[in-house]
Amino acid sequence: MNEAVYTASHWQSWKYCPGLMSFQVLRSSRIAVMVLKVFFPSCCATAESGLLIGRWIPEQNSAVVLAVVHFPFIPGQVKQYLSEVQRVTQVNMCVLGSWSNSKQEKEEVLVKFLEDLSTIFSHEPWIQLNKERDSRVWSCCIFQKYPSSPKEDEFILVYYDQRKVMLSQLHPTDNLTTSADHKGNDASKLGAVFDTVAKSKVLFMTDRYDDGPIKLTHWQSEGVEASIIMELMKQASVPVCMLLTFLLSLVSSVYKSRVLKLWPLSFIWSKLSTCEQLGHRLEHLQIISSNRKAQNQTQLMRKANIFVSLLIDMALGILLMSWLYRENRIGQLADTLIPVADHIAKELQDLLQWLMGVPAGLKMNRALDQVLGRFFLYHIHLWISYIHLMSPFIEMILWYVGLSACLGLTVALSILSDIIALLTFHIYCFYVYGARLYCLKIYGLSSLWRLFRGKKWNVLRQRVDSCSYDLDQLFIGTLLFTILLFLLPTTALYYLVFTLLRLLVVVVQGLIHLLVDLIDSLPLYSVILRLCRSYRLAAGVKFRVLEQKAGKPLRLLMQINPLSYGSVVQTYRLPTYACYPKDSWSSLCKKLFVGELIYPWKHKGEKQD
């Protein structure tokens, strides 16, 4: 029971506890069975009799059939063709055996002939597949010239869909690239099969109208569709990319020029989210338009994802623009914007009036309350006059800003976020004043509290030391402490109200940034690929056991197990520029309590992870 208790916490994590429990089973001693696996493309099941060509993987004892060569053929030509294919594809191709699809009689002649073939194409072992007439179950046999040991051979026939296996990408992909050096023994068995089929793509490129010296059956495309538009687009893409690169190099040189790096400008750039978003998109455009070929599948997918994300972004932006510039919506927007700003200012004034009275029945220090209230009221007055000064130009500004939507919805959203930040600048100012006052009081109180206890903060040693104070020092300290303590509730109330307002603005901005991030980072191409061509992104394979007959080989159907949507998004998520604040909720609360400033540009939003 002790042991059981020991494992108690392990149930959820499914830890393996060796030696806890061991079931000994009488191991039956059997003769070693050599299992031979034949991966057979399902499209060749109806092929006429001939030779099986493909790759033999000796360490796994399996044969991957890639195509069937039909009778009649000249053995020399077949050998020559194979060596040619091998040179192009780097796959060790050979004749694996023979395939007979007997529709009529002529049995004995054929069997004899097939046995003779094994002497021409020497391959060890020689696989013979027979499909009988009107029968789904095939018979297999192996010929070995030098039977190494007495063993009962077992066959497993695995059907696979050649096209799907060729096009699919086995995940995780980085696994294959990192272990490329010790691939031979370490890479997964099925990975090798997938690799073989994908590499011999050249073999499948011939379509059914091509006529070569030998006739093959394998997966064939229905002929390449020749569309003039597609061809023109292909031809046009090169100059378009070159032009784009040129323009981008111009833009990025302007972007990197020294004039913009001067102190006040660079400070402003780093605070405006529009600039960051534009820089991010510029980077994306540079990646797309670069004429370097994508080295591997991951980079290719990344490019495609960025391209689709850009396209969607632009389309949404243009949609927004077409909505904005119709029926004088800009004018309406500008007309509503000024009253809204006025209304907010009015509400703030009312709030301040309320705070200057007896808010929520609290009795404040009247003098300080009045001073603070007047100060903030004057600030609001300044703000209102500023808005009214701006009001004739607002429509024009909005009209020009609206044009930026053609750069993408994300840019428009970033501009919106910046506009919100600018329009609520007074709230930010109030927050800073409130926080500074509150912070000063808290620090003063804490140091005077130390004085009470006969201690002081040693700056040099960064610790609290004991210290003996004079009587008048203690008197002054106590006096100051009392004053600060009694004035604290008033400042704390102002601080609390303005912090709440500030947090509201930050949350709104955070939501906008969340939307921008979503558009920026969602790998739409991969998701669409998963939706429409689920075999392209394979997490693995699954097998289905087909109908059995005694004495005949085991038949399995290999299907591709598609990647789940969650892992698609996780694998192909595009990186974003936004750096989220590292501090947790508790440290945020601590900062708020102590009165440290929460900077809006570090806190892209109130979402913490």
């Binding site: 149930w11 089973v25 059997r30 069975v33 077992e154 997964s188 099925l190 693995g540 056991v545 085991l554």
Partner: protein
């Protein structure tokens, strides 16, 4: 094909089907306890009675239609994502082990583990709620070290058969795994 009736940890009846395709290929399929008509009707009745109570109080017929939709969507979600009808384990000696769980709506969730990754199949014990239960699991080979176990994959997670059923499956699995080693 053999079929045996066993009991799950919770006491429900489960059926174990064994199919032997060839010497090195076997399939075990455990049929989970069926969905009880009693619990289904109890859930539906409670939702509808609660909705009717709200309707009497608020006199708003939206509540009733909302209750119908909630029941329907809840049932679909339950059948499609939660209720597992049967779980099967296909052991192919030279290829690997495949686990399939079929949901009541017909959705299948398949995982295939290659034989080169499989270190062993063992029965382990764990504490679940207030009792000790046994479960069958596959130990995956750690590619870094030859004796290490990188992951433990539990089998028959939703049906949770009792020990007698697990031993049957375990013995058959070990017979096949034994052939691999020789």
């Amino acid at each position: 094909m053999e079929e045996g009736v066993y009991r799950a940890v919770s006491g429900g009846r489960i059926a174990l089907q064994r199919r032997q395709y060839s010497a090195s290929c076997r399939e075990f399929s455990v049929r989970c306890p069926r969905l009880q008509l009693r619990s289904l009707s109890a859930a539906t009745c409670s939702v509808w009675l609660a909705a009717y109570g709200l309707f009497v109080l608020s006199q708003n017929s939206m509540v009733l239609s909302a209750a119908i939709f909630i029941t329907l969507i809840g049932l679909i979600v339950y059948l499609h994502f939660v209720k597992i009808d049967h779980e099967s384990l296909l052991v192919i000696g030279s290829l690997g082990i495949q686990m399939t769980s079929s949901y009541a709506s017909g959705k299948e969730n398949t995982t295939f583990i290659e034989m080169s990754q499989v270190k062993d199949v063992v029965i382990n014990e764990a504490i679940y709620m207030q009792k000790v239960i046994y479960y069958l699991c596959i130990l995956l080979q750690d590619p870094g070290e030859p004796h290490g176990v990188s992951e433990v994959v539990p089998l028959f997670q939703s049906s949770k058969p009792r020990l007698d059923c697990l031993v049957e499956v375990y013995r058959s699995c070990q017979e096949i795994l034994e052939q691999r080693k020789t």
